[in-house]
């Protein structure tokens, strides 16, 4: 008999009543969603919207990862938080609010950096969704997605634009498939400000330095008289060096000196909704129900003209993370009492060799600070966790040099 939404014994009568309207959707499988768990990285403008959507849709478990606390300026777009919450961890408050929105799902707050989240959670979650605000955090999550073979639904915004891109293992490009040398946005080093300003923006930064030199502190952007001092200086320089350029206005100067990405809830909500819808489809697919087709293309939304743009992202076979020659991940199921040095003969059984003259080393990489593994200690003595990844460079296989990742799995956890 086909799976029934209305007669599922995974759902309580209460849930069936609450979710009635979506249970009527063609192709919908509520049980699949109830059995799913999703890791949401970043509970900000995108993450709060995504968490709200997935909670209301009845996804069984949400892991909410965020290392930040709530600020008053979050409240223009982050609906899980309100005035009284400033200073509290985003993940914790989000979990509390979500429970009020739909008490039938589980919300696991992780007030933590991505690097320090228990590797078992990355193993357990069916998919990852990113609502992150930095490239470095995205790279961290992308590595986990590739190594654990999990779909990763990424989204991001800037002013009136946004993008959505679902990495689907072995199908399309991962984040590292584009070998960008300079991923992070260029930051202006102080040394670029010595001498004649070469760009319009340098004039404003010089105005800021001028203020600091005279007052021994940076200008207060809320003090008109202080901003005027900065502007005067900056605009004089503009007149001198860039006579055809516009002088700086007050608002422009404030937004540059006190830099924050501009964000508006409408763009956040569009992008977050697209990510949520893709996630729901992917969860259906992972649980054997073909609901539509996940969008494997990079999607751009331009809110100024209300249009979408798409392009394909084929995988790069030379990618250092997911390509043909990328270090492979070897999964080793071993008891936690294993002495780390004895991992080497296990790798030998898998065809990896090492020169006896060389010292083979394992590095713990699923942490904020990389750490060398002491080969004399046992896995449990070093608190190496289930699902943790060790990096092991300098081996050979079939006559070729290889570096590998070793994923440690404990039989007591693995069924």
């Amino acid at each position: 008999m086909k799976k029934s939404n209305f007669f599922s014994n995974r759902l309580t009568p209460d849930e069936i009543y609450r979710l009635d309207r979506q249970l009527r959707l063609p192709g919908w499988n509520q049980e699949a969603l109830k059995n799913s768990s999703v890791l949401i990285a970043g509970i900000g403008g995108l993450g709060t919207e995504i968490a709200k959507n997935l909670a209301m849709a009845g996804v069984g478990r949400l892991y909410l990862v965020d290392m930040d606390t709530i600020e008053y300026t979050n409240l223009n777009r982050q609906l899980l938080f309100s005035d009284g919450n400033t200073g509290e961890p985003k993940a914790v408050v989000a979990a509390r609010t979500l429970f009020r929105i739909n008490p039938h799902s589980q919300y696991v707050p992780l007030f933590s950096r991505l690097e320090d989240v228990d590797p078992a959670i990355y193993e357990t979650a069916d998919i990852y969704i990113s609502g992150l605000d930095s490239v470095s955090a995205r790279r961290e999550l992308a590595r986990r997605a590739v190594h654990n073979q999990k779909p990763l639904v990424d989204g991001g915004t800037t002013t009136y634009y946004g993008h959505v891109y679902s990495y689907i293992p072995n199908q399309n490009a991962c984040l590292e498939c584009d070998p960008l040398k300079e991923r992070e946005r260029e930051t202006l080093a102080a040394c670029t400000l010595v001498g004649v300003p070469r760009k319009r923006i340098h004039c404003l930064l010089k105005g800021q330095l001028f203020f600091e030199a005279n007052h021994g502190r940076p200008p207060n952007i809320h003090e008109l008289s202080e901003m005027e001092i900065v502007l005067d200086y900056a605009n004089n320089l503009i007149q001198e060096h860039f006579p055809t350029d516009e002088p700086f206005g007050l608002d422009e100067a404030v937004s540059i000196i006190d830099h924050h990405e501009p964000s508006i809830i409408t763009i956040n909500a569009v992008i977050a909704s697209l990510q949520s819808q893709e996630a729901l489809k992917i969860l259906h697919h992972l649980h054997g129900t073909k609901l539509g087709e996940p969008n494997a293309e990079y999607t751009i939304y331009n809110g100024l003209i209300g249009k979408f743009f798409y392009f394909e992202r084929p995988p790069n076979k030379n990618c250092l993370l997911c390509g043909e020659f990328a270090p492979p991940v070897e999964r080793l199921v071993v008891p936690s009492s294993t002495v780390c040095g004895t991992l080497l003969p296990l790798l030998k059984q898998k065809g990896y060799f090492y020169s006896p003259d060389d010292e083979v080393m394992f590095y713990r990489i699923d942490k904020t600070e990389m750490e060398l593994v002491d080969l004399e200690s046992t896995l449990s003595e070093l608190n190496i966790r289930h699902g943790e990844t060790l990096y092991c460079p300098g081996l050979t296989k079939s006559g070729r040099d290889v570096d590998i990742y070793v994923k440690i799995l404990y039989p007591e956890v693995t069924q």
Binding site: G42, G44, G45, L46, G47, S130, G131, L132, D133, S134, V135, R138, G155, G156, T157, T158, T159, Y161, G162, H163, A173, C177, D178, P179, L180, K181, E182, R185, E186, K199, E261, S263, Y298, I300, N302, L304, I305, K307, F309, F311, E312, R313, P314, N316
Partner: protein, 102 residues
């Protein structure tokens, strides 16, 4: 990087480089208040940064740090040369936002 490079300068006159060829491409901008697609002849020995500076003028985009280019599904590195992206006549270069905020 000279951001004031003129549009015409893209048709490099120096015949010295062997690898370089001129290709006629379309440039489509996904950002800004107008949907625009322009035809453009580029020389493949140009750097991505140079192309970006030119497009910044052509499309009236204030700052080359605010957008990336995408060619054949690859998001381009500023330091890279166009020749590494196997550009053919009729290909599309997309101007895309750098949307990293969450």
């Amino acid at each position: 990087m000279n951001e004031d490079r003129e549009f015409e300068e893209l048709d490099f006159d120096d015949e010295g480089t062997v690898e370089a060829k001129k290709v006629s491409v379309f440039v489509e901008s996904t950002i800004g208040p107008n949907q625009r697609k322009e035809k453009l002849v580029v020389s493949t020995d140009a750097s991505i940064a140079e192309i970006k500076a030119t497009l910044s003028n052509l499309f009236g985009l204030p700052d080359t740090r605010n957008f990336h280019l995408a060619i054949s599904g690859r998001i381009c590195d500023d330091d890279d040369l166009l020749v590494n992206y196997d550009l053919e006549d009729g290909d599309v270069i997309l101007v895309i936002p750098i949307s990293t905020a969450g």
